[in-house]
């Protein structure tokens, strides 16, 4: 346990009663600890992810960040808000890395109100900037789930049917101050197929349980910071699309990056369309991506063309979105007893231990973590599996 690198520092954690943890282990199989249960459910999830499901690849996700009084709590260091925002930054990065053709918006709720921090957009920079600025927001009052949800809903309900509509709430407070009956809103959310997931920072709140159950989302409560991160990263993967969501063909443009050489006399620096609305940043540049339809210039991809509304992506973006559809095969568990000679992890050279439920396979736990999604594509290829081998049933929602 100590060797886990991501665990918070001892002195940063709460009161710990190490002797109790020990006691529980000794009493053995009679009382399974919560950790064991968590581990089991994680494993089930991994196995399940290899079933053939339809995934919604184009995602529209609204974050709701609770900025109420309880975010000042210092059980996450230095406090809940700072820690959350920092994790969110990494999440946004990761999210766009894995879902390049998706969009995100951020809403904060405090003082019984909800306000938009950023609009729904596919530009990670903008969100990260906003998140960085948000560190200084004072945490006051109670959050309002109702206001936040209805704000997000008003924006999401205009999104086309083939995209997923998701809301992810980071809720620290145990209470919500609502202007109207939230259960009516839940039915509306359900009818509009909005998936609401909640990550609680303190404990299980009934209304969130109902909310997530009804809308088909997930509800998790964090144990500590590393668990928090893990839970957030669960949302990086696109959720399974409901069978009723429509499929449609989408027109996409694949612009090439053209750099006008300085020697070329005709080349003139021009404004990028994406800089039109934001005053920040150098407006003029020489090269860029030009929309194949209307020749509007953009400095970065993916983006939706401001002029003709075409989705502009690059081929690697699409390929990256793809790998969710063809996940790596599950590890085969082989009991350690079988491995008489070579009891070392092939990847990290750690010795494999007996009995601990975590280390049942030939890869040790550390390796399992290290081999994150980025490696999956490579490994799959290395294993000699053609990556479209099992694509038969996986219906692509976009083209």
């Amino acid at each position: 346990m100590d060797e886990e690198p991501e665990r918070a520092k001892r002195w940063e954690g709460g009161y710990e009663r190490t002797w109790e943890v020990l006691k529980e282990d000794e009493s053995g199989s009679l009382t399974a600890t919560v950790e064991e249960i968590l581990y089991q459910s994680k494993k089930r999830r991994v196995i399940k992810s290899h079933e053939q499901v339809r995934l919604g690849m184009m995602r529209h996700l609204y974050f709701v960040i609770d900025c109420s009084r309880s975010m000042d709590d210092q059980d996450l260091k230095p406090n809940r808000l700072t820690s959350t925002l920092k994790l969110m930054e990494t999440f946004v990065d990761e999210y766009f890395d894995q879902n390049p053709i998706s969009q995100v918006g951020i809403i904060i709720t405090k003082n019984k109100r909800a306000e938009k921090l950023t609009e729904l957009s596919g530009n990670p920079k903008k969100h990260i900037d906003a998140l960085k600025k948000a560190v200084d927001t004072p945490c006051v009052g109670e959050p309002s789930l109702y206001n936040a949800l209805s704000l997000a809903l008003n924006n999401l309900k205009h999104m086309p049917g083939h995209t997923s509509r998701e809301i992810l709430i980071i809720l620290s407070s145990l209470t919500t101050c609502d202007p109207a009956n939230i259960y009516e809103l839940i039915t509306t959310l359900k009818s509009l197929k909005v998936r609401v997931s909640v990550i609680g920072l303190s404990a299980e709140v009934r209304v969130c349980t109902v909310l997530t159950r009804e809308t088909g989302g997930s509800y998790h409560v964090i144990l500590d910071e590393s668990h928090f991160k893990e839970l957030l990263m669960l949302h990086v993967k696109p959720p399974p699309a409901s069978s009723s969501s429509e499929c449609s063909l989408i027109r996409m443009g694949f612009p090439q990056h053209t750099v006008a050489s300085l020697s070329d006399q005709d080349a003139k620096p021009s404004f990028s369309m994406s800089h039109l609305d934001s005053s920040s940043g150098a407006g003029l540049s020489l090269g860029g991506y030009f929309c194949p339809q209307c020749h509007a210039k953009y400095t970065e991809l993916p983006v939706e063309c401001k002029v003709c509304g075409l989705t502009l992506v690059s081929a690697p973006h699409l390929a990256r979105s793809f790998h969710h559809l063809f996940p790596l095969q599950a590890f085969l568990e082989s009991p350690t007893e079988k491995l008489l000679k070579n009891r070392f992890c092939q990847a990290c050279q750690r010795e494999l231990e007996d009995k601990t439920p975590v280390e049942k396979h030939t890869w040790s736990q550390t390796t399992e973590k290290a081999s994150n999604r980025r490696m999956t594509l490579k490994t799959a290829e290395k294993n000699g599996e053609p990556s479209n081998h099992n694509s038969g049933d996986a219906l692509l929602l976009i083209w």
Binding site: G14, Y15, R17, W19, E20, S29, L30, T31, A32, T33, V34, I37, L38, Q40, S41, R69, S70, D75, E142, L145, L174, T175, T176, C177, D178, N181, I182, Y183, G200, S202, A203, E204, V205, R206, V207, C208, T209, Y219, H220, V221, I222, L223
Partner: protein, 761 residues
């Protein structure tokens, strides 16, 4: 699934079984085999009811001659309905598995008020018609009654005689007058189960006061008022034993006597009238009385009836004494007795005396002998029958008085008489009350134990189990306490003994007004309201204490701070107000606003209302709920317990306080998927003698680390606990540990484990 319980084939209508259910059934089987009584404690939410039903039904089928009937006594109508539903499920399972038509008849019985379909006309048709086999709840009976035009109440009352399973309220078995009418003829080879046997106290006093004729009557208006006056008595009431005690106790106020006076006048007039019209009838009665109550005696000896404790054995062998044999003489006798009681109520100071003292006094003053007094109740019944008075409700007062006369002259021990000139709270207003209170609960329940071959007392909180047999004076063959096997520790008892400033927290008398203690209690609630989601229930030791504390919190601004986290609701003595508060409390929990319910340890909320899941994520017990020890009735009872049963006062008080505390905190956990914090905020809980009296299933989760915590530490632990419990938890996680399939159950190691679950005492 089909189980093999010690050689008995038991059909169990679910696919999974908890290990403790299996071992519960084993114990139960043993009790039935031995034809003895049993005390079984198993936490609520672990499927007691279905275990009981499936085992006993299987037993009835296997040995139809050994056990002929199951009498299942529960507390409230919803609980009765729940039992019937479980039973229906079981029967359907039987029908499906065995594919044969079984001729089981099971029915629920409730008061006529609940079963009436023609409120305006009296209709007793249906008394003699046997019900077809099946399972009937109250609605089914009403439906049937409506279709056939029979009175469902009488139909049910008649049918319980030949039904295989009867589900009804305790009153029908314990309250002497009702039992006499309803349960008298139930077969000896019945198994009686008292479910939720720990607290059947509160609603029974009402019954007794209404003249014990609840099945027949609506509540008489005047007695309602009497009831209110004696309401303050409620807080003195004890539990299981309470029903027994209540059913044998009498309170007499001036109003009762006035009404009684009217009754006697009416009686006299009626006698006068009858004498003129039908003198033969009175002569006939006289003749019958000379012969005595021989018939009743014959009946009892041949063991047809359940004995009535108000009708002691000796009376049956004798004839009614001459002094009260004629109707006029009896009325005169009643008048004399009434005048005497009136004079006794004119006291200026508190009097406490025993039954023999009272008898001597009555003999000295008005020359009433002991013997006629003893026949009073029986004589009155006979007179009422002779006079053919249909509206017995008007005579409840005189019935009460005559019962009192019989009881006081029959039992020289186990009763005490206390006459108080005024209520403690209002010493200036004269409101004399004569309490004739029963000290010995075993008197009322004795006939039940004697008559029926097996009596099972079961509940979630009976600890310590050995004290019940002592108080109720019987010898159980099995006494067992089962714990909950849990896949995760879903309850977290914490004993908070100190505030953050190290001030010892306690509700004991000396520190009860202490500012620092009150502040720290407030602090505890405030901090908890910030970390516990949804609902918190806080219990105080008494209404007065709660009022003081809440007022003081208000002054200190603590309430305002709490309200930023959660809404606050308060239980009051008014039932309507309380139920309103409860409703709003539940709404606030449901909507995510979060709420705190402040209530009182012996109040309505603590006894009858479950706070499942989010309705009670934490229960905070402020102080140890000792009874109000200055009460005279309580003192008398304690003295009696010490003299008769060698139970020390302190032991009994602690036992009583702890069972109420357990009762309160137990409200939060109603099953294995539920979870909740139990916070005992008093340093006295940390002592071994207090802790040891909590039920086993709570006790085993209190470890040394959770004793005498400060508020801060408790908050940290709660935070951790609540996060752990919020992790996803599905049925699959329970399988094999706390939930078993048939194969898992039959594995040898599991059987070994199960054998350890029951803790024999």
């Amino acid at each position: 699934m089909k189980l093999n319980i010690d050689g008995l084939l038991v059909y169990f209508p679910y696919d999974y079984i908890y290990p403790e259910q299996y071992s519960y059934m084993l114990e139960l089987k043993r009790t039935l085999d031995a034809k003895g009584h049993g005390v079984l404690e198993m936490p609520s939410g672990t499927g007691k009811t279905i275990s009981l039903l499936s085992l006993i039904v299987a037993y009835q089928r296997a040995f139809p001659l050994e056990v002929t009937k199951l009498i299942y006594c529960s507390r409230t109508v919803p609980e009765i309905e729940k039992v019937v539903e479980e039973l229906r499920k079981l029967m359907e399972f039987y029908a499906k598995e065995t594919e044969e038509v079984n001729n089981f008849l099971a029915l629920a019985l409730s008061s006529r008020k609940n079963l009436c379909i023609h409120p305006e006309e009296f209709d007793a048709v249906g008394r003699q018609v046997p019900l077809p086999a099946g399972v009937y709840n109250l609605d089914d009976l009403k439906d049937l009654g409506r279709r056939k035009g029979w009175c469902p109440y009488y139909l049910a009352r008649y049918s319980i005689l030949h039904a295989n399973i009867v589900v009804y309220s305790y009153h029908y078995l314990l309250d002497p007058k009702i039992a006499d009418l309803v349960s008298k003829e139930l077969a000896k080879k019945s198994v009686v189960v008292f479910d939720e046997a720990h607290n059947i106290g509160k609603d029974l006093q009402r019954l007794w006061l209404s003249g014990m004729s609840e099945p027949f009557l609506a509540f008489p208006e005047g007695l309602k008022k009497d009831f209110k006056m004696s309401k303050r008595l409620e807080k003195l009431l004890f539990s299981t034993d309470n029903v027994c005690i209540d059913s044998m106790s009498v309170n007499i106020t001036r109003r009762t006597l006035d009404r009684c006076q009217n009754n006697v006048d009416t009686l006299q007039n009626t006698i006068q009238r009858i004498k003129e019209t039908d003198a033969a009838k009175l002569r006939e009665e006289y003749r019958r009385l000379v012969e005595g109550l021989k018939e009743a005696n014959v009946a009892r000896e041949t063991d047809v009836y359940l004995a009535n404790p108000v009708l002691p054995d000796e009376i049956l062998k004798e004839a009614v004494p001459g002094s009260i044999r004629t109707a006029e003489h009896f009325v005169g006798f009643l008048r004399r007795f009434l005048e005497y009681l009136k004079s006794r109520l004119r006291v200026q100071h508190v009097v406490q005396e025993s039954a023999p003292q009272f008898l001597k006094d009555i003999f000295d003053k008005v020359c009433i002998d002991r013997k006629p007094l003893r026949f009073c109740a029986e004589r009155l019944q006979s007179l009422l029958r002779t006079l053919e008075i249909t509206d017995i409700s008007d005579f409840s007062a005189v019935t009460l008085i005559s019962n009192f006369a019989t009881l006081v002259s029959t039992y020289s021990q186990g009763f005490t008489i206390i006459i108080e000139p005024f209520e403690d709270r209002t010493p200036t207003i004269a409101n004399p009350v004569l309490h004739f209170s029963c000290m010995d609960p075993s008197i009322a329940i004795k006939p039940v134990f004697q008559r029926f071959q097996s009596v099972i007392i079961t509940s979630g909180t009976l600890s310590p189990v050995d004290i019940y047999p002592r108080i109720l004076d019987f010898r159980p063959v099995t006494m067992a306490s089962f714990t909950m096997t849990l896949a995760r520790t879903c309850l977290c008892p914490l004993i908070v003994g100190r505030g953050n400033d190290q001030v010892a927290l306690s509700s004991k008398f000396e520190t009860r007004e202490d500012f620092a203690v009150i502040r720290n209690y407030g602090n505890l609630l405030l901090e908890m309201s910030a970390v516990v989601p949804d609902g918190i229930v806080a219990f105080f030791t008494s209404y007065v204490y709660m009022e003081n504390i809440v007022a003081s919190w208000y002054e200190q601004g603590i309430l305002e701070n709490i309200q930023r986290n959660k809404l606050i609701f308060i239980e009051t003595q008014d039932a309507a107000e309380t139920s309103m508060a409860l409703e709003k409390y539940q709404e606030a929990c449901e909507n995510g606003r979060g709420a705190i319910l402040l209530s009182v340890a012996r109040g309505k909320v603590s006894e009858g209302i479950d706070f499942v899941h989010h309705f009670g994520r934490a229960v905070i017990m402020f102080g140890v709920p000792y009874v109000y020890t200055q009460s005279r009735i309580l003192k008398a009872r304690l003295e009696y317990l010490r003299d008769q049963f060698q139970i020390r006062e302190n032991d009994f008080l602690t036992f009583d306080a702890m069972r109420h505390a357990a009762q309160c905190v137990g409200r939060a956990i109603r099953g294995k998927t539920d979870y909740g914090l139990m916070i005992f905020a008093d340093k006295r809980y940390a002592r071994a003698d207090k802790r040891g009296k909590l039920p086993r299933w709570i006790q085993e989760h209190i470890n040394d680390g959770s004793l005498n915590l400060t508020v801060d530490e408790a908050v940290q632990l709660s935070k951790h606990f609540l996060r752990q419990m919020a992790q996803p938890f599905s049925q699959v996680d329970q399988l094999g540990l706390s939930l078993l399939t048939l194969e898992q159950l039959e594995s040898p190691e599991m059987l070994k484990k199960i054998a350890q679950i029951a803790h024999q005492t």
